[in-house]
Symmetry: C2
Subunit: 160 residues, 2 copies
DNA sequence: ACAAAGTTGACTAGATTTATAGAGTAAAAT
DNA sequence: ATTTTACTCTATAAATCTAGTCAACTTTGT
C-alpha cells in the first residue's frame, strides 16, 4: 500500500502537469481541488522540491511548477521519492537494496524470490508510465484505451 | 511496501508448507529458524488461524499446521489476510474496494487509473503463485535464474 | 525606500498505526 | 499434577498523518 503521502504527492504532480508551462500553481489551490490537507501537502511538495521534481517560488505570483516536462518524469520515481522503493520488501529492491536482517541465505529466501517478481511487475507499470501519460489517463476518463489516444487530446488542450 | 507482519507471515507459511503433512511446527521453532520475534509471530499466526489458513493445537505435540494443501493456498490471499488489499490504494482494490474520500470523480482520477494497472500486475504475480510454488522457489536456490532466466534477472542477483 | 500582503518553509504537537516485549492464562498430553 | 504449548492482555517505541504557529522571502502599492 502506498502511504497517503505518495498518493497526495502523485495527485499534486498530476495537477502541476495540468497547468500551462511556465505558470505556477498555489499549494492552497492544489490542496483545495484535490481535497488534500494543506499543511501535509506543504511538506510533501517540500520533499518533491528537495528531490528535484518541482521548483517553488515565494511571494505574490509564486507557487509550484514542474522542474521538467511531465513526459520526462516517471511515475515510479515520484513514488520512490516519497515512499521509498517500489519493491514490497527491501531485499527485493533494485534501487535501494538492503539485506534482510532475518535472512541467512538470501538467494534461497522464497519470500524474496516471489517479491522480486512482484517488484518487476510493479516497476513495469510505474516506470513505463510518465507523469504526462498518467494525467492523460484521467483526461480520457477510461483507463483501458489509454496511452495512444491521449496525445492528440493533450495537444488540443495546449492549443486552447 | 509489505509490513513486517505480512513478511513474517509469509515466511511462517513457507515454513509450514515444508513440514510433512499431518505434522505440526512449533511457534518457537518457526521463530528461531526464520529470525522472527516470537511474540509477534504468535499474533500473526493467530490472525492466520482466524482467517482459516492454519490450524493450531495446544499442549505437548501441539503447534501449527496448514489448513489446506499448500498448492491450494494463493500467496496473494495470505498477503490480503495480513496486510489488506494488494492494490496500492484502496479505491483500486477489487476485493476490498472503498471509495477515496478525496476523489470527486473516481472514473477520471489519474492516480487511481494507474494504480488499477499496478494492482493488476501485482495480482497477476501473487494470485497466480501458490504457497507450494513459492516454497519450491526457495528450494531450488537459484530461483531467479530458473524463473526469469534473462539478463535482467542475473543483474538483480549481482546487486545482492 | 518602506510597509503590507501573499506565499512558501520550518518547527512543534497530538492522534493513530506498526513493531516489539513481558507477564500471565488456558488447554492438552503424560 | 506437571509440563508443554498456544493464547490473551497490557505496555512501549517508532512511524504515519494531520493541525497549528511562526519565520523567511517576494512582489506590489505608496
Amino acid at each position: 500500500m502506498l502511504t497517503k503521502k505518495a498518493k497526495y504527492g502523485l495527485k499534486a504532480m498530476v495537477h502541476l502537469a495540468g497547468v500551462r508551462p511556465g505558470e505556477t500553481a498555489l499549494v492552497a489551490d492544489i490542496a483545495a481541488s484535490n481535497q488534500i490537507p494543506k499543511k501535509f501537502l506543504d511538506a510533501i511538495l517540500g520533499e518533491l522540491r528537495n528531490a528535484g521534481f518541482v521548483h517553488s517560488k515565494k511571494g505574490k505570483g509564486g507557487g509550484y511548477m514542474l522542474a521538467r516536462p511531465p513526459s520526462d518524469i516517471g511515475v515510479g520515481n515520484i513514488v520512490r521519492a516519497l515512499d521509498g522503493p517500489l519493491a514490497p520488501i527491501q531485499c527485493a529492491s533494485k534501487t535501494v537494496y538492503r539485506r534482510c536482517d532475518d535472512c541467512t541465505d538470501e538467494t534461497r529466501c522464497a519470500v524474496r524470490l516471489v517479491m522480486l517478481r512482484a517488484r518487476e511487475a510493479i516497476a513495469e507499470v510505474l516506470d513505463k508510465t510518465s507523469l504526462e501519460q498518467m494525467r492523460e489517463l484521467g483526461e480520457s476518463g477510461d483507463g483501458v484505451r489509454s496511452l495512444v489516444g491521449g496525445k492528440a487530446a493533450r495537444q488540443a488542450m495546449d492549443m486552447a
